[in-house]
């Protein structure tokens, strides 16, 4: 489906000299600096996968996406998507993909989304009857029926975003690119969009690529995560592997009915590799290092041995993980 090998993109950036004299010299001889925006990135994606591309601003995500959508021509490496080379066979290739740029609209501001859909349908030359049925399904599943005939300028951001997604799917693409689709949306709308995407992936086997800063998107949708930093791919693997490698483990806070010392709890937990920290007289924080399957075991042990009034489970959020990755030195790792 997607095959990317040693993908590279270099930009030549004009280095402006400082001062008026510098600007004058720039007129005659310019100095350029070559910046590697994407540096030797390789990955493969099978049909029907949902995966996320994450990274800080300027990590090369957008450049990668732009190359994958045929907007930019790579400066090196090979790329084949849906059986096309995007930058070479652009007009044929883009028929097989849908693109949503969260910051940019594809709908006509003064038209209703429905009119935009119709226009897009003729741009993509979609079969009338099948297209209509597909559109009805999109409208129903995205729940946009009630406002789809109002002008776009009158819609709220959440309403508009759902229409954007419908617009990008009008030709039933095999591959969908979503560049920060949930920026600025409220939780309910986010949830609706995620549900819709998951459903689309399950019923149509659509491949979905997501870039996002919102880690809850990834947790809700993706199994596979690619992390980019300074143009390099620094992680490619499953989300839970990411958590294991970069996470701080899981923490459980037990609130006991009676005063309990760390030693008592330690005795009950025996050899389990846990770190115990006192919160207050009645509460103890248990840090379970890495291994996921230990959590139920720890819980049941403590619950049977002590009278517990409250339990709080705090998993390292993916957000923290991402922060950990960003602050760590670059290190390439491949999983699964």
């Amino acid at each position: 489906m997607i095959k990317i090998q040693n993908l590279q993109k270099e930009f030549r950036i004009h280095q402006a000299r400082s001062g008026l004299a510098g600007a004058f010299r720039d007129l005659f001889r310019r100095e350029y600096k070559t910046v590697k925006a994407v540096d030797d990135v390789s990955f493969e994606v099978a049909e029907g996968e949902i995966f996320a591309l994450i990274g800080e601003n300027g990590a090369g995500k957008s450049t990668t996406i732009k190359m994958m959508t045929g907007i930019l021509t790579p400066s090196g490496g090979e790329m084949q998507i849906n059986g096309y080379v995007p930058y070479k066979q652009r007009e044929e290739y883009v028929r097989s993909i849908g693109v949503v740029f969260g910051q940019r609209s594809q709908l006509w501001w003064d038209l209703s989304p429905l009119e935009s859909f119709r226009l897009l349908r003729s741009v993509y030359k979609v079969d009338e009857l099948q297209g209509q049925r597909w559109l009805e399904r999109l409208i129903e599943e995205l729940d946009i029926g009630s406002f789809v005939s109002q002008p776009v300028r009158k819609l709220s951001l959440g309403q508009r975003m759902r229409c954007e997604i419908a617009a990008s799917l009008i030709h039933k693409p095999k591959l969908l690119f979503l560049d920060e689709p949930t920026v600025g949306l409220d939780v309910l709308v986010k949830q609706k969009i995620r549900e819709f995407l998951r459903n689309l992936n399950e019923t149509e086997n659509m491949t979905i690529l997501l870039t996002t800063h919102d880690v809850s998107d990834i947790e809700a949708l993706c199994k596979r995560v690619l992390v980019m930093d300074k143009g390099k791919l620094i992680f490619d693997g499953q989300l839970h592997d990411l958590k294991e490698t970069w996470g701080n483990g899981t923490e459980v806070v037990f609130q006991f009915k009676q005063r309990t010392t760390i030693e008592q709890l330690q005795a009950a937990l025996a050899e389990l590799p846990c770190e115990l920290l006192r919160e207050n007289e009645y509460a103890i924080r248990v840090r379970i290092v890495q291994n996921h399957e230990m959590l139920p075991y720890v819980l049941s042990t403590v619950m049977t041995a002590f009278e517990v009034s409250d339990v709080k489970i705090m998993e390292t959020s993916t957000e923290e993980i991402v922060r950990n990755i960003y602050s760590a030195p670059v290190e390439v790792s491949h999983y699964g």
């Binding site: 450049t63 907007i71 883009v94 693109v99 038209l111």
Partner: protein, 262 residues
């Protein structure tokens, strides 16, 4: 090509739908368009009352040329009205969206920025031509009509080609280039008989920036100026050649854009 024409009809109907959405606005603009064309008309007639003969051209012939010029110019400005191309498509990055759609990018840009209200210029042009033709007692044969249409389309293509080439500069330069003033300045030259200019300018207006082909030369055919028939007949060829050049530069620019990005 057939596809683009079909889409053109769709875009046009969408355009009118959006215009009709603001009823008062639409009517107001329509009236103001008509008034401005009317003022334009009166202005031209008044100004040309004071123009004496220019070389071998009499006043009514000059008015006729001006009227002819308005017709392809109106068509051109209806389809090629992306004055803000650099701002809207390059700086704001709308070009990215254009490139993810399966239709030639220039066609998309033209269709998105189409300005059908410019069509009033055609009417003004026809009125002026009619006025001059009556005063000159011109006779037209039936086949002059299709020839007229052909000449108008060719002239519009010349404009389109030059405009496209200039708009394509945005792909190469990373600064905010104002393409609008450039066009505004050069488009004026075609309106007057080229004989009034010196040899060098005449050469430039014929072969380099062939704006003589949007006014004088094709109008000369309708005026029955036999000495200029050769040039008049060259108009379609010039249209195709110059639009071809414009398109080639544009495509080159798009490739460059794809290489550099924003």
């Amino acid at each position: 090509m057939k596809e683009i024409i079909g889409l053109f009809a769709q875009y046009l109907s969408q355009y009118f739908k959006t215009r009709f959405a603001y009823r008062a606005d639409f009517l107001g603009e329509m009236v103001s368009n008509l008034v401005s064309e009317l003022i334009n008309l009166v202005f031209i007639l008044v100004v040309f009352q004071h123009v004496p003969f220019l070389n071998e051209w009499n006043r009514d012939e000059i008015i006729f040329i001006y009227g002819f010029f308005l017709v392809p110019y109106a068509l051109f400005s209806m389809f090629f009205s992306f004055w803000d191309f650099n701002e809207r498509y390059i700086i704001k990055g709308e070009m990215d969206r254009i490139l993810t759609r399966p239709l030639h990018n220039l066609a998309q840009v033209c269709l998105e920025s189409i300005a059908p209200d410019r069509i009033f210029g055609v009417i003004t042009g026809l009125i002026i031509m009619g006025y001059a033709a009556v005063r000159l007692k011109l006779d037209f044969a039936w086949y002059d009509l299709p020839i007229f249409i052909g000449l108008v389309l060719s002239s519009a293509l010349i404009y389109g080609g030059v405009y496209t080439a200039i708009a394509a500069i945005s792909f190469f330069s990373d600064s905010r280039t104002g393409i609008a003033p450039m066009i505004y300045n050069i488009q004026n030259y075609g309106r007057y008989p080229v004989d009034v200019y010196n040899k060098l300018i005449r050469f430039v207006l014929t072969w380099i920036l062939p704006f003589a082909f949007v006014g004088v030369y094709p109008a000369a055919y309708l005026l029955g100026k036999k000495t200029l028939y050769g040039y008049a007949m060259l108009t379609p060829l010039m249209g195709i050649v110059f639009f071809g050049i414009g398109l080639a530069i544009w495509n080159w620019g798009v490739n460059k854009y794809q290489g550099a990005g924003s």
